[in-house]
């Protein structure tokens, strides 16, 4: 479904070149809920954003459904993006549009007729349980509701893939549950492949079937979570799988 081959991305910053992602390779299969975990600055978002080429890698290829996206023309790429939905930590809804119009936005981009738009918008809002909020503006919604609107918007064009960049990082734990449940349902019912970036092991444990651990721009380890005996090798993976909150002082001891 998605194959990332030797992806590298370097940013020019005031302090010199910054290797955000170095030679990362990943294979994601149809129907996976694939987690990307790591600490802040590990390069998770950058790697995720190469999948729809929001971030164009300096090196490597991004193959989605057999097509190398880095070789597409701008126009072809825009067309391809219709089948790859994306949601974000801060929801990124249009604040001056109501819920209905927010979900309508990607359909207008895709030039879907008005009658069909109505149908699709209502379906998508129903799926995330927000049909009754169609006329509300984002500012009047809770964080969890905003994220579900964002999910509805991402699903409007019937994508095959949904990219999620820390979708639960700005909501409380209970709301996290409702968002993850919505994602799982989408994966099961619609067969949409999901890639989810997070720094919380809870999120991985809750819905992912596979996970890649990132550190300093590199993928250090990958796991298939359906396997019985998972033996993390790297320090960071051992730390993450221990899944305990440890105070910073102790952490250095643990994670030396």
């Amino acid at each position: 479904m998605i194959t990332l081959q030797n992806i590298s991305k370097t940013f020019d910053t005031a302090g010199g070149p910054l290797h955000a992602v170095s030679y990362a390779s990943l294979h994601i299969q149809q129907g996976d809920i694939y987690g990307l975990i790591g600490f802040s600055g590990a390069g998770k978002s950058t790697l995720l954003r190469t999948i729809n080429l929001l971030e164009r890698p300096d090196e490597g290829s991004v193959i989605v459904e057999g097509q190398d996206l880095t070789k597409l023309s701008v126009r072809e790429l825009r067309k391809k993006r219709l089948s790859i939905g994306m949601i974000f930590q801060h929801f990124n809804l249009l604040n001056n549009l109501n819920v209905y119009d927010n979900v309508s936005f990607p359909l207008e981009i895709a030039k879907v007729s008005k009658a069909e738009r109505k149908q699709r918008i209502e379906n998508c809002l129903e799926m995330v349980g927000l049909l009754d909020k169609a006329k509300a503006f984002p500012a009047k919604l809770s964080g969890g509701q905003k994220q579900r609107v964002a999910i509805a918007r991402a699903l409007a064009n019937n994508p095959k893939i949904l990219l999620c960049d820390e979708p639960t990082s700005s909501v409380d734990p209970q709301t996290t549950g409702s968002i993850l449940a919505a994602l799982q349902e989408i994966n099961r019912k619609l067969g949409i492949t999901i890639v989810i970036v997070t720094h919380e092991m809870n999120v991985i444990n809750a819905i992912c079937n596979k996970v890649a651990v990132m550190e300093q721009g590199q993928i250090v380890e990958k796991f298939d979570l359906r396997e019985k005996n998972i033996v993390p090798q790297s320090n960071i993976a051992q730390f993450l799988f221990k899944n305990e909150i440890v105070l910073a002082g102790e952490r250095e001891v643990q994670y030396a």
Partner: protein
């Protein structure tokens, strides 16, 4: 005392009409040209969508150049140009030429700044949905910026009500011209007083209407 005011009243009304005439020409033209200009400034900024650094450098320089002219000086300096356009350098129509020239870059800067304040995440989201640049500008940036744009129009209108009075100094008519004749040459304090009250009321009315529209357009809170 009221005699003076009654005597001057028809001229005051005439002056107000001229002032409004100047504003009605200046503001829509400044908005119509300043908005795309400001958008282009925003789009061509060094870390923005279009990578045209030289173009930005030139456009930015021109905008700064025009903006650095004090209004009265601009007005006098472009008299030949004004004559060429409207056939004369006198009268309200002629006065609008420097007003427009001054207002365009002023408004463009406002637009550039307002667009900079639009959350980049929303642009990311639109891009991830396959939107092209035109759609991003039209459907995302302008939608999110619309209350800011309404606010900028209000500010520019109030500023140019003030600038239009300078036009009175060089035969542009309007409320400034009226003030010079009655307040300065004839020293009729009562007439000046009434004039000031009227202007204050107009500014309040513009600001009130502007704020009302801004609130209607802004759904962020």
């Amino acid at each position: 005392m009221l005699d003076n005011v009654i005597y001057a009243w028809p001229e005051l009304v005439q002056a107000l009409i001229e002032t409004f005439y100047m504003l009605i020409l200046t503001i829509p033209i400044a908005v119509a040209i300043g908005t795309p200009l400001g958008t282009i400034l925003f789009l061509t900024r060094p870390d923005s969508f279009l990578k045209w650094p030289k173009f930005y450098l030139i456009l930015n320089g021109v905008v700064n150049l025009v903006r650095s002219f004090p209004f009265l000086i601009l007005m006098i300096a472009i008299i030949p140009f004004t004559r060429l356009l409207v056939g004369t350098a006198l009268g309200s129509t002629a006065a609008t030429i420097p007003m427009i020239i001054n207002a365009i870059p002023y408004f463009a800067r406002f637009i550039e700044q307002i667009l900079l304040d639009v959350n980049r995440g929303v642009v990311d989201a639109a891009e991830s949905m396959g939107a092209n640049k035109l759609q991003i500008v039209w459907k995302v940036l302008y939608t999110e910026a619309r209350s800011g744009i309404a606010n900028a129009i209000t500010i520019v209108t109030v500023s140019f009500l003030s600038y239009s009075t300078v036009a009175g100094l060089v035969g542009g008519g309007g409320i400034g011209d009226f003030a010079i004749r009655y307040g300065y040459y004839r020293y009729q304090t009562d007439v000046m007083f009434v004039t000031i009250i009227i202007m204050v009321l107009f500014v309040q009315a513009f600001q009130f209407t502007g704020n009302f529209i801004v609130r209607k357009l802004d759904k962020r809170l």
